[in-house]
Subunit: 398 residues, 2 copies
């Protein structure tokens, strides 16, 4: 059996950063910057006032109080370039460029707020309330580096460079296909043996949570020709395909059957519970495909381990790991010999966890899975978790 | 001056969970469930097989090996209800209901995989590979509780209840309005005194990150009538309005001027740096409005403290707090006497931070803000952070 780590590596190796596109800043959230963005200009561009007040000459405000003649009015955005000579002041608002001749900003609170003349009662030292050109960035500085995930602050920084668009890696479109004759869309009355498809929603939501755009298809019946047709249509039109179900040893394992003659796809056992039967590879058109087992907890854990990192890589992110932490198991449980275990857990204290699916341990427990806040990753060498043991938990809740 | 905590409380008090709507599961990501969702049926609905194999009677597999006659073939989804009598077996796939008479599932690996007859070499105890009806949930169980944030596992649980739709609190639509005569859209050539609007993108992205839908408007010039018109159009058509700029003591503070006669809105000083000048209240149509100061770092920190919790509350979330952690300051800095401080920081080790805007400390440093991964919250009582001090850091990176 292939180890969890080895299969994760194989899954990740199928993914590479997607082509670069230029998007409007309004559409840039969650995308990843493709190039280092440098500034051509100093930021701020001009020495400017950090306060609402008066721009004056330091020499004029040594002996206080004093009255100066107001020779200009400089709201933010003013293009005026007055000169502040001896005995004069310019009224100035926050952000307006400091006029020539002035070296001192007197906040309005230290004056009588006059408009024709101004009485200055107190004054700070020269330069105190002046924001210097270039103190945020100087020409040539990388303001937003390639690989930066665009969130509020990074998007604002791009805007401050005067750019209305940004070059990013395209957002991955990922098809999710659930398979199984027993599956019907939720809302359909069930006859004996049927159950509502939940995996296509599980995986579509997980794709979105990973920063991709899901293309949800399902459920597809256990019909080899039907599935081949679906996959052929998707190959080359999406960036990856994820299937659930049909990869085990049963007589009706449709995904295995549909891809059996495909030299680009391999099926194998991975030393992990849940999620032992796995497949991956490329379809003839080059599209990466990940075939996950169909039990909901298996699909959930397999997506987390094998597909999510690949989507993050496609987006252009260097770090494809979930945040993880060490926690204390508040109860014990057994784990399969020689296989790693992925156990959905929930928090019962700041660093204490119990199994989310405590009523049973099966990989079909989709209702209990809703309680999962983390996924404990138990190494293959460990066969038993005892109450009080420390375990590593990935934080998987949205 | 009002304390940070007090103003945060006032900001949150303007928000309440938005009305309930019914959405398709495909549109449910990130929304919050309005009602407890109970199951009417046991989950799983039927005792079913956990393995691909054969359903047999335990009495028939005591003496092994033995050969049994295969009387039925039960793929997943089969509606057949055969009876397994003495000396017979039903071929069964994972998930198919266990037929009457059978109490034992023999995995296919322990047989010759026959179709007419099957040779059983080994057999597990009765019930071992049977998933019992109701072991995931029994009728009346709350499967997804009111207040649950819908992510992959919760959406799958709703689907498993056979529901194609879910009742959730509506997603907040939040208008962001940047103001200032100095602002031009990014991409516009700058003349002296102008700078690109970055706040409307900053705040729109922050709204999205908080789970709202932004309505980005800006920049609006420092014109009281223009701004009043914009606000009147928004009042009653969005769930909240956030403005930036124009709330200080300058001669052109357009937001203050536009709302000066509005009895529902108050302007005040908050004991925090950055972000001292604040306003909030309700417009005549009842829409909450938050007027933030215009410096980018001030807008960013003010949104984080006052607006984000309100958006989370509108979504129906009970917990409106960011995850926070204790970290060691790797350098010292001063903080203003008697005011709390919100300092953008970045990580330099697993629990060590430095200021993100280290080249300067001003609230105009939008380029440096892109490096911020956290916001250190320094209480008002502390006037100096020394290298090695522990500080509380909110994790704000997307």
């Amino acid at each position: 059996m292939r180890s969890l780590t080895e299969h994760r590596g194989a899954a990740l190796a199928l993914a590479s950063p997607l082509p670069v596109v230029e998007v409007l800043l309004d559409d840039a959230d969650g995308l990843v910057v493709a190039d280092d963005l440098r500034t051509d200009e100093p930021l701020p561009r001009w020495d400017n006032s950090a306060m609402d007040g008066y721009a004056v000459r330091q020499a004029d405000v040594v002996d206080l109080p004093t009255t100066l003649r107001v020779v200009a009015d400089l709201p933010a955005g003013s293009a005026d370039e007055p000169v502040v000579g001896p005995g004069t002041a310019a009224r100035i608002m926050t952000g307006a460029p400091v006029p020539a001749g002035a070296d001192t900003i007197v906040p309005v609170e230290l004056t009588d707020a006059g408009t024709g003349t101004v009485l200055v009662r107190e004054a700070p030292a020269a330069g105190v309330h002046v924001r210097r050109a270039g103190e945020d960035a100087v020409p040539g500085d990388v303001v937003v580096a390639a690989g930066t995930l665009l969130g509020p602050a990074a998007i604002a920084a791009v805007a401050s460079l005067g750019r209305a668009t940004v070059r990013v890696h395209r957002r991955p479109r990922v098809a999710v296909v659930s398979t199984g004759d027993e599956l019907v869309p939720p809302g359909t009355p069930l006859r004996r043996g049927q159950l509502p498809d939940s995996n296509s929603w599980l995986l579509a939501s997980a794709v979105r949570d990973a920063g991709g755009t899901p293309v949800r298809i399902g459920p597809v019946p256990d019909d080899v020709d039907a599935l081949r047709s679906v996959l052929a249509d998707l190959d080359g039109t999406v960036d990856a395909i994820v299937t659930s179900g049909g990869v085990s040893v049963g007589a009706y394992d449709v995904v295995k059957a549909a891809l059996a003659d495909d030299p680009g796809v391999e099926f194998l056992a991975v030393a992990v519970q849940p999620g032992k039967p796995q497949g991956l590879g490329r379809l003839p058109g080059g599209t990466p495909i990940y075939t996950l087992p169909g039990n909901p907890v298996s699909s959930f854990a397999s997506f987390e381990m094998f597909v999510r990192p690949a989507i993050l890589r496609m987006r252009g992110l260097a770090d494809v790991e979930r945040p993880s932490m060490s926690a204390v198991a508040d109860e014990g449980w057994t784990t399969p010999p020689g296989r790693a275990q992925l156990m959905p857990v929930r928090w019962v204290g700041p660093d204490r966890v119990v199994r989310a699916t405590a009523r049973g341990s099966g990989s079909h427990l989709v209702a209990r899975l809703a309680l999962a806040e983390g996924l404990a990753v138990i190494p293959a060498e460990i066969d038993q978790v005892a109450a009080g043991d420390r375990v590593t938990v990935l934080k998987v809740s949205p």
